[in-house]
């Protein structure tokens, strides 16, 4: 029973264009959603998060959109750069206070940005 789903295993875009990565979830209890990036031979690194009370959060070239009614979130990268090529994981958790996060991850989407 996958509570966080990333249905696109891979995505390829041209440098300078927009990359849109999608994620769906089934657990209505989740109240935070986030994206992690992972390069080969490295651990995942935090990219951006959004609270369930918001519908958009921006950080530089990265914007996350949340549609609670559709249980859907997306990550927009504008403009895309070759260094953005990595696996992107969507994740979610139920906030219980503090930083003792128990994250539920999707399977990931491999983004390739072509020069």
């Amino acid at each position: 029973d996958q509570q966080v789903k990333q249905n696109s295993p891979s995505l390829s875009v041209q440098e300078g264009r927009i990359s849109i990565l999608n994620c769906d979830y089934t657990n209505s209890m989740f109240d935070y959603f986030l994206w992690y990036k992972k390069y080969p031979a490295e651990g995942p690194t935090f990219l951006i998060s959004i609270s369930s009370i918001k519908d958009k959060n921006e950080d530089g070239r990265f914007t996350v959109f949340l549609n609670k009614s559709a249980k859907h979130l997306s990550l927009h990268i504008v403009p895309s750069q070759p260094g953005d090529s990595a696996v992107y994981f969507c994740a979610a958790f139920v906030n219980s206070g503090g930083s003792n996060y128990k994250l539920t991850f999707g399977k990931g989407t491999l983004l390739t940005v072509n020069p």
Partner: protein, 116 residues
């Protein structure tokens, strides 16, 4: 400032054996979580340690156990290894009392376990 370090980076075991993986959290962090990432899957939560006790646990059998030491470092032990235990095991750390960016954990590079 040392990040999360894990050892060993790679290891090969045979079915039925036992394995111990080690993790040192990022400086200043006191909470350690372990995740299993099987091939083609996302990381899956195993358990979390704080104040030397297991605080949360995911859907993993009792063959998976852990420990946290007074210096906040942690071990993951897996007994009676199965072929399906082959995976990348990731350690993540955080500081329980401080919420920085919500959901931010600091991950190590992982220990890749192959069970033959």
């Amino acid at each position: 400032d040392a990040g999360v370090t894990q050892s060993p980076t790679h290891l090969i075991k045979t079915r039925g054996q036992q394995v111990t993986l080690r993790c040192s959290p990022k400086s200043g962090h006191d909470t350690v979580s372990w995740y299993q990432q099987a091939l083609g899957q996302g990381p899956q939560f195993i358990f979390q340690y704080y104040e030397e006790e297991e605080r949360q646990r995911g859907n993993f059998p009792d063959r998976f156990s852990g420990h946290q030491f007074p210096n906040y470092s942690s071990e993951l032990n897996v007994n009676a290894l199965l072929l399906g235990d082959s995976a990348l095991y990731l350690c993540a750390s955080s500081f329980r009392g401080v919420v920085g960016r919500a959901g931010e954990l600091f991950f190590g590079e992982g220990s890749r376990l192959t069970v033959l």
